[in-house]
């Protein structure tokens, strides 16, 4: 094996250490002998949490990311507490204080940033020494010095009303100081907020006891041998015992400039984080200028670290860094601020959605361009922040109903925010996974939702907690959550979205699940992808689909629902929930003959025979002489109905008959998720038609209202009104067309409530009712093909589909 290359990293902050971690994760330890220089005499710590150390909510020891032994364990030589004095590019050497010389083949500069110190008189003592009481706020030592000095003092001032200044101010309050924030401009956090938001934030801070002075240009720090106050350009003064300067940061690029590298506002790098002059030298983090941008936040730095590691190790030579979308959050107790993207509309057609409740300190503003979020400010209520920042970062379309971007309407109010949730609180109630267990998994290095869910099984039960699980993961990762590309795949094993997959399947005429794997994965079949593919192929090809039984979930192989003890449940079809004495007698006889342990009425107005042995299934079906009710499949299940017009004194429509017609047409229809329908004979809705996938409600005037996308299971949602029609035939026509549109466009296992919310009822109504895309006829005929392809699977009682289909175990035959 070739000798290892020498990799030297200058800087052991969040960027330097993270890049090294990423390199190690790509097997870089075999390629490189890694040496790091760190100016601070510690391992690597989470600088973002410094303000928490200052305000006392974290101990300094809590915020370390990598302790000194970590470097040893990973074979990294660390010069801690050593400042690098120069880079000799010709001899490829880095010179550190104390005559330390390190040679490099590749060099990474990750020197971060330094505080920007404005021109102020009286910063230092007359003899040039530091003036007691003047501080910057950048590292652990600053924190320690402020803490020591502040104890027992009366008043503190913070110069700078940006993110860092406000965090410092809130931290200083911890020492029972009166605190005043001095801002040179006329608004706080001017980078992240617009004027109204800044005004509300000012009031919120004042309510918390923090003084805010705007338009104050600090001229002088007074005091002969220690700080006594400030003098401003307008002649006014402020008495204080200490002052923290948090007026911004600037890239720490002096070392690079002295080495002859191009430095503007930061060290200029290309899309591979390479310096302009020297292909052996790279730079990463806050010291970098990429496409004119210098970033002072952690998320861009993490994106850069990945690209740089891909480049250096050769793991992905095509990778590139193309800039970051910037989202920030002020993490200060009692003040909630999140901001992303632009703060004011900047192009014609930009749409602004806004809500203000100044009294409560709440302000929400969104800027939407071409249906996508390009900017957002949230104050006082950050419950929508996780969703919005995701929509912003991924540039996904936002729902037509803009109100739902600002508030959770009609959904149960979210429990305590993720941050304040106790570690032992259960997040996933199906699999009993706590917040602590998820955070622990993230700590072990899993950073995508998918990998954490696989490892903990959180979110893999009913799925209702998935968004909460994602929020906990995002919280546990800090800003380091990684986008999971497979989130957009139709099935996990094939890297294509549903429309892409449909195109390939149609173009190549792939009619069986194994044909899809042969064409797209080289024949390697992914078990988790099989049922989704089977469902899609059946939808696309209807009667021409080549059924392969191994692609089906067990329920669909034996046409019954598997129970926890390996027995099955049998639910025959009972259209409209109507039965007869003869049918009931037959069911009773069957239950006795096969010793069925439990007979139960279902929520869908049918009768369930539970606890049936697999061997008995075919004989029971024969004896029942009723078709399958499909109560085990991702298909049309049932249509619940009320009594309707014939007997009910309120009835307006024939709900039973309509339910029976619906069942006759849609029976066995397979779809991305199960379909539960209902008809109601009047708006009293006894059959709960408004919380069904499709519900038809009779109203006065001989009309039926069709609701779609309702749910009352793991998720509760009232259906949206699709349209009003005046005949049973039209109920069948429009609900069928809606179902076909859903079948063709929903992700696998996406129920109609998710689909309708995602696409928006306006769009769906346009397509289904007004035929805005001219595909109505196509949808109707595709649905008709599926209706025609229906056959009752319980006919397999007479001819089995596969060898030993209903055997629970086989004897040995020699």
């Amino acid at each position: 094996m070739a000798a290892k290359q020498k990799l030297v990293v200058i800087g052991n902050g969040m960027a330097g250490a993270r890049t090294v971690e990423e390199i190690l994760a790509r097997g870089g330890a075999d390629q490189f002998q890694i040496t790091m220089f760190g100016e601070e005499p510690y391992g690597n710590y989470n600088r973002i949490l410094l303000s928490d150390v200052l305000n006392g909510s974290h101990e300094a020891s809590d915020i370390f990311l990598n302790s000194l032994p970590w470097y040893q364990e990973n074979g990294i030589r660390l010069h801690s507490g050593v400042r690098v004095s120069k880079i000799l590019r010709h001899s490829r050497q880095v010179i550190g204080e104390g005559d330390i010389v390190e040679e490099y083949d590749k060099l990474i500069i990750a020197t971060g940033s330094v505080p920007f110190i404005p021109q102020i008189e009286g910063l230092k003592l007359g003899d040039g020494r530091e003036k007691p009481g003047v501080f910057v706020f950048r590292n652990l030592d600053d924190c320690r010095r402020i803490t020591e000095y502040a104890t027992g003092k009366r008043a503190g001032a913070v110069i700078g009303g940006g993110l860092l200044g406000l965090e410092a101010a809130r931290g200083l309050q911890n020492f029972s100081l009166g605190v005043t924030v001095i801002q040179r401009g006329n608004a706080l956090m001017s980078q992240q907020l617009d004027q109204p938001a800044a005004a509300i934030l000012k009031k919120t801070l004042e309510d918390l006891g923090i003084g805010v002075l705007l338009d104050k240009d600090t001229r002088r720090i007074t005091g002969e041998d220690h700080v006594t106050g400030l003098e401003f350009a307008d002649g006014s003064t402020l008495e204080c015992d200490l002052v923290v300067i948090a007026a911004g940061i600037k890239a720490n690029s002096g070392l690079a400039a002295r080495a002859g590298l191009t430095v503007e506002r930061g060290i200029v790098v290309d899309n591979q984080l390479r310096t302009v002059e020297d292909p052996r030298i790279f730079a990463v983090g806050e010291c970098v200028q990429h496409r004119g941008q210098v970033y002072g936040l952690v998320a861009p730095l993490w994106e850069q670290a990945k690209v740089l590691a891909d480049q250096l190790t050769g793991a992905d030579p095509d990778s590139g860094y193309f800039g970051s979308k910037v989202a920030t959050k002020l993490k200060v107790m009692g003040v909630e601020v999140a901001s992303m993207g632009i703060t004011e509309p900047s192009e014609a057609g930009d749409e602004v959605v806004q809500f203000t409740e100044a009294k409560k300190g709440t302000y929400k503003k969104l800027i939407i361009r071409n249906g996508r979020l390009v900017g957002s400010i949230l104050l006082g209520d950050l419950r929508k922040a996780p969703y919005l920042s995701q929509a912003f970062e991924r540039n996904t379309p936002v729902p037509e109903e803009r109100l739902s971007l600002l508030f959770d309407i009609g959904a149960p109010s979210e429990q305590a925010s993720v941050e304040t949730m106790p570690a032992d609180m259960q997040v996933c109630n199906c699999n009993g996974v706590t917040k602590g267990a998820i955070a622990g998994c993230v700590k072990l290095g899993k950073r995508t939702s998918k990998s954490v869910m696989e490892a903990t099984r959180a979110g893999l039960g009913c799925g209702a907690c998935k968004s909460l699980v994602s929020q906990v993961i995002a919280w546990a990762c800090g800003a380091a959550t990684e986008e999971d590309p497979s989130a957009n795949y139709y099935v996990p094993g094939i890297p294509l979205s549903k429309p892409e997959l449909v195109t390939v399947i149609r173009e190549r005429g792939l009619k069986s699940v194994s044909a899809v794997f042969d064409a797209l994965t080289g024949g390697e079949d992914d078990p988790a992808s099989k049922p989704g593919l089977a469902s899609l192929l059946n939808t696309l090809w209807a009667g021409e689909y080549e059924d392969q039984r191994d692609a089906r979930f067990i329920n669909d192989r034996v046409h019954a629902n598997i129970q926890k003890d390996g027995t099955f449940s049998v639910i025959p079809q009972m259209p409209g929930g109507v039965t007869s004495p003869a049918e009931l007698r037959r069911i009773a006889d069957v239950a006795e003959k096969y010793h069925v342990p439990l007979l139960k009425l279902t929520g869908g107005q049918r009768i369930d025979l539970v606890g049936v042995k697999r061997e008995d299934l075919p004989n029971m079906w024969r004896d029942l002489a009723m078709p399958s009710g499909f109560a085990y499949a991702k298909r049309y299940r049932t249509c619940k109905s009320c009594i309707g017009i014939d007997y009910c004194r309120y009835g307006l429509g024939k709900s039973i008959e309509l339910a029976q017609e619906i069942e006759q047409r849609f029976q066995g229809l397979d779809s991305p998720g199960k379909l539960k329908l209902a008809t109601a004979g009047c708006p009293r809705n006894c059959s709960e038609a408004m919380v069904k996938d499709v519900g038809a409600v009779a109203v006065e005037g001989g009309k039926w209202e069709i609701y779609v996308g309702g749910a009352a299971g793991a998720h509760v949602r009232k259906g949206d009104l699709l349209c009003s029609v005046d005949s049973h035939a039209d109920v069948l026509k429009f609900s069928g067309r809606f179902l076909q549109y859903y079948r063709e466009n929903a992700r696998y296992l996406e129920r109609t409530y998710g689909f309708v919310a995602r696409i928006g009822i306006d769009k769906i109504r346009a397509v289904v009712v007004d035929d805005s895309e001219g595909i109505a006829e196509q949808l109707d005929s595709a649905l008709q093909r599926s209706v025609d392809a229906y056959r009752d699977p319980w006919q397999e009682a007479h001819t089995q589909a596969t060898p030993n289909q209903f055997r629970s175990s086989l004897p040995i035959v020699q």
Binding site: E454, E524, A528, R549, D550, S809, L810, I812
Partner: protein, 104 residues
């Protein structure tokens, strides 16, 4: 001890079936790419019937709670305990042969 269980055609392609060898229940899988695997029949999590699971490549997903196992090594993909596996092969004229000796 090697045991011949019967013809591979007793198991449809891409599926599994349970065989009873004395008091031992063994799940035997026939993958679409021609491999045969044998493991304990019940999922160690809640006793789910693994032979009814979805099979792909060398992985089975338990039908009850979707736990995943590697059929060659028995290892669980979700960090749960592993499956007992039995060496399995196709013998003469497509007979399934497995080795049910206690592991040493």
């Amino acid at each position: 001890m090697e045991v011949t269980l019967g013809p591979i055609t007793a198991i449809p392609e891409g599926e599994g079936r349970v065989f009873e060898i004395g008091a031992t229940r063994v799940a035997v899988f026939r993958s679409r790419n021609g491999h045969v695997f044998a493991t304990q029949a019940e999922c160690p999590h809640r006793g789910g019937p693994l032979a009814d699971g979805l099979l792909g490549d060398a992985t089975v997903i338990c039908p009850l709670h979707s736990l995943k196992f590697d059929l060659a090594s028995g290892e669980g993909a979700n960090g749960q305990c592993a499956l007992r596996t039995y060496p399995a092969r196709l013998g003469k004229s497509g007979q399934i042969v497995i080795d049910v000796r206690e592991p040493t």
